[in-house]
């Protein structure tokens, strides 16, 4: 397919536009009427869907940017060059939306800049805030050649391309710290977080699972965009990503099992409570099943097999973030006697975030040389 053949308005795009518009109204409502009017958050459940799905999930889904960026620019593994632009652009949208979501989630959105000037180095949240700002800037810089190319600004284009390895290194460093610090956010709460998830290794678990998710997310995008924009998927790249997934998911599975056996013990995972069932679902969908499927050669060398594994890993890892942020504290909080289920506005805003990301990505594919399609 050529770039000019990409239609701006397809039925899916129109649905996404409607969701994005409705979600924007809900966002304005939240800003003017407060969190109590728009969400079901309360004193026992200070964090809900926006923090877990949009922020923790969104950042994890954006991990492809640093994994592929590092592979291409630092490991000089040129085989993956065709997917580096979409991976980084996708990461940029992921971070932009995570940043928007956290701005909406905090009590005073107009004070979002406070951590940048009021440093408090004991706080993981301060470190997370600094990372989000620096890394979103880094991703914008990494994506800027797309725009320079379009505008014919050759000098700027060559300059950024030339220093790209250094920018990529900076991005890798920020991401390694940022992905792990999102796990470290929960280190302070051993009283509340169920031992099924709580571990002093939480930062490393978040990092390893983010890398695992990154490989699947990039592979998933590559397959989907090859179908949507009708070009042949780069099979070599997909096979390589699948091999990477096999290694990382094997390591992550071993780490998770080691923590389970040395920590709370396997009994807690099978006691039939909501908490342990959610843990099992996360582990089976996100780790065990993908790992077993990937060990089979006829699955990991087949487009449909790879796609299937990718979907499992994406769902499982996002569920992990949701579990750590909400379900892990359910037993503690329910004992206090308060429940939480997201309001319709919380769902709508989250859906709008996803819609914005897809629409933005599509616009970039149409007008910028993201997929290196014919003009």
């Amino acid at each position: 397919m050529k770039q000019k053949d990409i239609k701006l308005f397809t039925p899916l795009t129109i649905v996404l536009l409607i969701i994005a518009a409705a979600g924007s109204v809900a966002m304005l409502y939240r800003v003017f009427f407060g969190l109590g009017a728009s969400t079901n958050l309360n004193d026992t459940w200070p964090w809900g869907l926006w923090i877990t799905f949009d922020v923790l999930g969104g950042v994890a889904l954006a991990a492809g940017g640093f994994v592929i960026g590092g592979t291409v620019y630092l490991l000089n593994w040129k085989k993956y060059e065709p997917i580096v632009r979409p991976a980084i652009l996708n990461a940029f949208f992921g971070y932009a939306l995570a940043a928007t979501s956290i701005t909406l989630d905090i009590g005073k959105p107009w004070a979002i800049w406070h951590p940048l000037v009021m440093w408090q180095v004991n706080s993981i949240m301060f470190i997370v805030a600094i990372h989000v700002v620096l890394y979103t800037t880094t991703l914008a810089t990494e994506s800027s050649p797309l725009v320079f190319e379009k505008l014919g600004m050759t000098k700027a284009f060559h300059f950024v391309e030339k220093i790209m390895p250094a920018i990529a290194l900076f991005g890798v460093m920020l991401s390694l710290l940022h992905q792990s610090s999102l796990g470290a956010v929960f280190l302070i709460a051993p009283v509340k977080v169920s031992p099924l998830w709580y571990s002093s290794l939480l930062p490393y678990l978040f990092l390893v699972s983010a890398v695992m998710l990154a490989l699947s997310m990039v592979s998933f995008e590559t397959i989907v965009s090859s179908r949507v924009f009708k070009h042949n998927p780069p099979m070599e790249v997909l096979l390589g990503l699948a091999r990477g997934s096999l290694i990382v998911s094997g390591f992550y599975l071993a780490l998770k099992l080691w923590i389970l056996f040395t920590g709370p013990g396997i009994g807690l995972a099978f006691n039939g409570s909501l908490t342990s069932n959610m843990y099992l679902i996360e582990m089976i969908i996100g780790v065990i099943l993908p790992f077993l499927l990937l060990t089979m050669k006829n699955v990991r060398t087949q487009l449909n097999g790879i796609l299937c594994v990718n979907i499992f890993v994406i769902m499982g890892t996002v569920l992990n973030r949701f579990n750590v942020g909400i379900i892990s504290m359910a037993e503690h909080n329910t004992r206090i006697g308060v429940d939480y289920f997201p309001s319709w506005m919380e769902f709508l805003v989250t859906m709008a975030m996803v819609a914005f990301a897809i629409l933005g990505f599509k616009l970039c594919v149409k007008y910028l040389n993201v997929l290196k399609l014919e003009h």
């Binding site: 000089n76 009021m118 440093w119 408090q120 250094a166 610090s181 302070i188």
Partner: protein, 332 residues
């Protein structure tokens, strides 16, 4: 298109130099672990509490003035109670409008005070003013702060941007958030520090008629609490009223105590101490709360960051140089 080694190092250094420099000089790294020199606090003795809730009412009244923890300019009528008017409905939990609450735990017919058999016990819930407060350690903007001299934990609404990490971090679920307002604040007990300048102290203690809540230096409160545990049940004892060093005493027989001062070591120690006749877990204290200094758990990670930044930059640069050379060799 490809970049030479010098350019690479220059750009990498420029990009991360500032970040690295700022991270290796942590201004006030790690949280305090010692009781501040002039630390003040409260001792609550559940066996003396009669559940009159005078502390709850007076907490609202005396914090609803400029400088108080419930004060909101232009909205003095917003908080349940006005000093001039009586009110008839009492709060059953902490909220953004209630910083101090009396709760009751009961079993069976609930006739025996401070007993687990057909009995009941009161408990007074508000901020414990931890020696190493998790809330202050996680606050990204330093809105929650521990006073270095007297040790009470204060809140600055102008710094706070409402991330609510303090609520997640507090093991006692103390900080509350004004969800109902579009310009919200965190609300929590600040030990009435706004009253110290005029020679006053925490309103809940000043208006406690039985001496169940007494205010004083934490070292004195600890001594008083430990002394009460050594008293013989049934003997008469002169319980101080309002403050630990008060001349005003209330003479009454000593009740049965659980042999434990809650807050001496919990969460690393708190400036609010408790005595009770029933197990503290039954009064709502989470059994998962250990004697660990909670901020240590995150500091273990944060302390590694400067080394990680340096390590990643060095390892990354080396990898880039090696793999680039290998690619070039292959091409030749």
């Amino acid at each position: 298109m490809s970049m030479n080694r010098r350019d690479f190092l220059k750009t990498a250094a420029a990009g991360s130099g500032a970040l690295l420099a700022s991270t290796v000089t942590p201004a006030r790294a790690a949280m305090p672990k010692e009781l501040p020199p002039e630390a003040v606090g409260i001792l609550y003795d559940a066996t003396l509490c009669i559940g009159c809730k005078s502390c709850v009412v007076n907490c609202k009244i005396y914090n609803n003035v400029p400088g108080g923890a419930l004060y909101l300019q232009g909205r003095t009528d917003a908080y349940d109670v006005k000093p001039s008017e009586p009110f008839w409905d009492s709060a059953n939990d902490l909220s953004s409008k209630t910083l101090n609450v009396i709760k009751v735990s009961k079993t069976g017919t609930a006739v025996n005070k401070d007993s687990m058999e057909n009995g009941y016990s009161f408990i007074k819930q508000h901020c414990l003013h931890c020696i190493s407060p998790a809330c202050a350690s996680v606050c990204p903007v330093g809105a929650l702060k521990k006073d270095p001299v007297k040790g009470f934990v204060t809140y600055d609404k102008d710094k706070c941007f409402g991330c609510r990490y303090c609520m997640v971090a507090c093991p006692f679920n103390i900080p509350r958030f004004e969800y109902e307002r579009a310009i919200p604040q965190i609300r929590k007990c600040q030990l009435c520090y706004h009253r110290y300048a005029e020679g006053k102290y925490s309103a809940c203690c000043e208006f406690c008629p039985t001496g169940a809540s007494i205010f004083g230096k934490v070292v004195d409160l600890r001594k008083e609490a430990q002394k009460r545990l050594t008293l013989k049940q049934g003997d008469d004892y002169d319980f101080p009223v309002r403050t630990v060093d008060s001349k005003e005493k209330s003479r009454r027989p000593v009740s049965k105590y659980i042999n434990h001062v809650y807050g001496l070591n919990e969460a690393g120690g708190t400036q609010y101490l408790f005595l009770a006749g029933v197990p503290f877990e039954w009064l709502g204290f989470n059994k998962n709360i250990t004697d660990t200094f909670l901020p240590d758990l995150t500091w273990a990670y944060i302390a590694k960051i400067p080394a990680l930044i340096a390590g990643i930059l060095i390892a990354g640069s080396a990898t880039w140089a090696v793999t680039r050379k290998r690619n070039k060799d292959k091409e030749e």
